[in-house]
């Protein structure tokens, strides 16, 4: 804007007023000049003045108008000046406003206080605008922060959901992944996951996963129910947030040194008012509300997931159990069926044996006198034959002892027999027994102990045959035998006499034989050497005493016994000897030398008694 020159305007207007006054003065003069037409006078101004005296004041008209012009212009210039001043003011104000707005636009609210001095409406509203803007910016900032936190939370929850979804029904892995995520996402320092274990009678916590905890401290991993902050948190089902941490509450390790954390957050894992466990987080900074909220939010999903996982685990376990139970059942069923088959087969085998036994027993029953008795001799049972033989009625001997069938003199025998039986020995023999009538009967008896599987004797089985007849016959036979015996004795004596005679003859002959040149040996039918003369001694180089009573075989070599049929027959008691035939055979002397000799064998028979006499000549001798 151009600055208007006020002085110029004043002079202009003064000048223009003068000119206007002058103009009117001139016009008046000019019109006054017309007068000269009427009056003869020399036109001059002076004359005019004289005609029109009024011209005198008029000649001041230019001055007046100039003055008026000046006044007016002065007024104008005053107005303009005022205007200008105003304009100037306006200009600076707009500049300030612009600057203010610019600042507002730039978000610079603090530097614009210059405006507050003026109290015009615009400023006021501008200030209001500013305040509004400030407020809205603050709100926006707040909203942004809130928005950010919300995203953080939702993002966290989403990622967290991913972890929960991806769990593989392994609580340990799951809990580790959970706290690992929490530690990383929340940028905190340590975390522990405590699960409530209800499987045992005593409810307690189990540290299923931890990050950055001092390992030594949690070696046992077990925390009792109602123990410490963990227990309190679970009991009250409320989050516990602590910023005033007792010293040594937890030591954070993992490279951070043994420092105490600044804050601790303990959150119950609950859903539907049911507690599944507790997570404990510790940090070197304080937890923000939204962070706590986040943890609480996740805690519920954790609780839900854990309840689901535990459910799955329980169901799988149940399923497995049912399966293995079903398996076991079918196995048991098979076992039962096998048991049944075994029982049936056993039964059939027993039946088979029983039938066989029965057959045998029946046969025995028919043929033999049978009875059974206890180890002390008390009768258990008897068969028909028994009753017949002993001439008793069944009633009479029921429960009786074996003793009643013994004669008084023989009762001691029974004790001996029973004692032997008790030691498991059988008894077998011919016995004398007493019938009811007191008659003697003779029996061929076997007592057999019946032994059970444990080796205990349960009873004794008696099988007997009546041999009374036989015994009687034998006795008569014996009697006649006795008679015969006497006769025999007499005969024997006679024979003895004869024997003596024979013996004498024998000695005589032996003497002669002794002196014979031929070697002579006699042997009995069994091959025992009875006689060995001097010539034989020479031939064999044996002393008589060395050979008498010995077996004939010693006089021959093994090979010749084998090869030579004559010797073979000679030395073998079973074989028929070659009698009356002279044979050349090899003999073996004491030193093992074989010598060929001529053998002639003769036989002597006395009753059943055979004896053989051999006459031997040395072949070599004959040659000379």
């Amino acid at each position: 804007m151009k600055k208007i020159n006020v002085k110029n305007i004043k002079s202009k207007f003064t000048f223009r007023g003068f000119l206007l006054g002058l103009f009117f003065y001139m016009i008046t003069i000019l019109f006054g000049l017309d007068v000269f037409g009427y009056i003869q006078q020399t036109p001059s101004v002076f004359t005019l003045y004289k005609i029109f005296p009024g011209l005198w004041p008029l000649s001041f008209l230019p001055l007046v108008t100039a003055y008026i012009g000046y006044i007016v212009s002065n007024n104008f210039s005053n107005i303009i000046r005022a205007q200008n001043k105003h304009l100037k003011q306006e200009e600076t104000r707009s500049l300030t406003v612009l600057e203010f707005i610019d600042n507002l636009r730039k978000g610079n609210f603090q530097d614009s206080f210059s405006l507050s001095e003026s109290k015009d409406k615009l400023s006021e509203s501008l200030l209001r605008l500013r305040d509004y803007l400030i407020k809205s910016k603050e709100e926006q900032e707040q909203r942004r922060i809130e928005e950010e936190q919300r995203t953080w939370v939702t993002q966290g929850v989403a990622q967290f959901g991913e972890i929960l979804r991806k769990n593989d029904d392994n609580i340990e892995n799951l809990s580790y992944n959970i706290i690992k995520y929490l530690v990383e996402y929340m940028r905190i320092n340590q975390a522990g996951f405590y699960l409530i274990n209800r499987t045992t009678n005593e409810k307690h916590f189990e540290l299923t996963a931890c990050i950055a905890f001092d390992r030594k401290k949690f070696a046992d991993k077990r925390i009792e129910w109602e123990e410490g902050l963990i227990g309190r948190c679970a009991l009250e089902k409320e989050t516990i947030y602590l910023t005033d941490i007792p010293n040594n509450y937890i030591n954070i390790t993992s490279g951070l040194g043994d420092a105490n954390p600044k804050s601790i957050l303990i959150v119950p894992l609950k859903t539907n008012d049911e507690i599944y466990g507790v997570i404990e987080l510790a940090s070197f900074k304080e937890f923000q509300d939204f962070e706590i909220e986040f943890v609480e939010k996740t805690a519920e999903s954790i609780a839900l997931t854990i309840s689901a996982v535990q459910n799955t685990i329980r169901t799988t376990k149940l399923l497995k159990e049912t399966q293995s139970q079903a398996e076991r059942m079918s196995q048991q069923e098979e076992e039962l069926r096998q048991n049944l088959e075994e029982m049936q087969a056993t039964q059939e085998e027993s039946d088979r044996r029983e039938i066989e036994m029965k057959g045998i027993l029946e046969a025995i029953d028919h043929a033999a006198i049978s009875s059974e008795f206890e180890t002390d001799g008390t009768l258990i049972s008897v068969n028909e034959n028994f009753l017949k033989t002993y001439q008793y009625n069944l009633e009479e001997i029921e429960g009786q002892n074996l003793k009643i069938f013994f004669f008084k003199d023989n009762v001691s025998e029974l004790d001996q027999i029973l004692a032997d039986l008790q030691n498991g020995h059988n008894f077998k023999g011919r016995v004398k027994r007493r019938t009811k009538m007191g008659d003697e009967i003779y029996l061929l008896t076997t007592y057999t102990p019946v032994i059970d599987h444990e080796g205990e004797i349960i009873k004794i089985l008696s099988l007997e045959n009546d041999i009374t007849e036989q015994v009687k016959m034998e006795e008569t036979l014996k009697e006649s035998k006795d008679e015969l015996g006497i006769k025999l004795e007499e005969a024997k004596k006679e024979v003895m006499e004869q024997f003596k005679e024979v013996e004498a003859i024998k000695i005589r002959t032996e003497k002669t034989l002794e002196g014979a040149l031929d070697a002579i040996i006699t042997m009995d039918k069994n091959g025992k050497i009875d006689f060995f003369n001097e010539a034989a001694e020479k031939l064999w180089n044996y002393q008589r005493s060395e050979v008498l009573g010995k077996n004939i075989k010693m006089l021959f070599s093994e090979s010749s016994i084998e090869k030579d049929d004559f010797i073979a027959a000679f030395v073998d008691p079973e074989k028929d000897k070659i009698i009356g035939e002279r044979r050349e055979v090899p003999i073996k002397d004491k030193f093992g030398t074989e010598v060929a000799v001529l053998f002639l064998l003769s036989e002597a028979k006395v009753g059943d008694d055979h004896s053989y006499t051999a006459f031997i000549q040395n072949v070599e001798v004959e040659l000379f």
């Binding site: 076991r328 076992e335 069926r337 096998q338 048991n339 088959e341 075994e342 049936q344 087969a345 056993t346 059939e348 085998e349 027993s350 088979r352 044996r353 066989e356 032994i451 059970d452 599987h453 444990e454 080796g455």
Partner: protein, 279 residues
């Protein structure tokens, strides 16, 4: 086709011969298999002919493997009281468990032998026709709840009737016990003693070069007919040392001709040293 014909076919096409098993029993077993597998005898026959694996399975199905620890406790007690003392003088005691099933019999015997300080001197062979049972025997791993009552029953019998001062056996000494999983396992020092192998008593030669002092063949012969039983008695007779012992099941016994070759001695049959007839 009837089951007898089937058994004959089985005999010609496979290494197994069940034709001399006790008629009633084998018939029931085959019926059971037919029913379980929903087969006719003909179909069974077809499968038997071509499928070796199936035959093994069939054998497992046919055999009855019922067994217990210390089955018939009192018999075991008598056995150890009367039988083993005579074996104490021997350097090595050769034992054969025929039809050992899942092995409880083997370990019952070994446990008691160990209690008597004889476990180091035994040479134990155990055989069964059933592959699966052989494996179970080798593993020595059993269900706890099912088996412990039998062990306890034996302890009870022992307490009434101690064997050489042994009146109670501490089972933990011999088993690793896992109550939670309901199983018990024979400790390896015991498990390492026996040689356990698959063997068919009917068809295969005795899998040993030596003779035996004790042969356990309990509850196996009940499944055989008399002919086969006699054949097996001959086999046992031939493979026992003089005065060797044959231990049969509670309801089994030697009948017929072989009765004279053995002397019954409580639960055991002792091989007769001299062979003679008794009338």
């Amino acid at each position: 086709m009837n089951f007898k014909e089937y058994l004959n076919e089985l005999k010609t096409h496979t290494p197994y011969d069940f034709s001399d098993y006790s008629d009633n029993s084998i018939h029931r077993r085959i019926q059971k298999i037919l029913k379980d597998q929903d087969l006719t005898l003909e179909q069974l026959y077809e499968k038997t002919k071509v499928d070796k694996q199936f035959v093994e399975h069939l054998v497992e199905e046919i055999t009855v493997n019922t067994t217990e620890f210390f089955r018939d406790p009192n018999i075991w007690i008598t056995l150890f009281k009367k039988l083993y003392p005579s074996l104490k003088r021997k350097g090595t005691i050769n034992i054969w468990h025929v039809g050992c099933s899942s092995g409880q019999e083997i370990y019952s015997n070994l446990i008691m032998l160990n209690e008597l300080g004889l476990a180091g001197r035994v040479n134990v062979l155990a055989t069964d026709i059933n592959q699966k049972m052989v494996k179970t025997s080798k593993d020595g791993s059993y269900r706890y709840k099912f088996n412990i009552p039998y062990l306890e029953a034996f302890n009870k019998a022992l307490s009434k009737n101690p064997i050489e001062n042994v009146s109670k056996i501490d089972w933990e000494k011999y088993f690793n016990i896992d109550l939670e999983d309901d199983f018990m396992e024979v400790k390896s020092f015991l498990r390492d003693i026996p040689t356990i192998q698959k063997h068919d008593l009917v068809k295969e030669p005795v899998p040993a070069m030596h003779k035996f002092d004790v042969i356990f063949c309990r509850n196996v012969l009940i499944y055989f007919n008399t002919t086969l039983q006699s054949k097996i008695f001959q086999l046992f007779y031939d493979n026992l040392n003089n005065s060797g012992q044959l231990i049969l099941g509670n309801h089994e016994g030697i009948t017929g001709f072989f009765k004279t070759k053995f002397v019954k001695n409580g639960p055991a049959y002792t091989k007769n040293k001299v062979f003679h007839f008794k009338y």
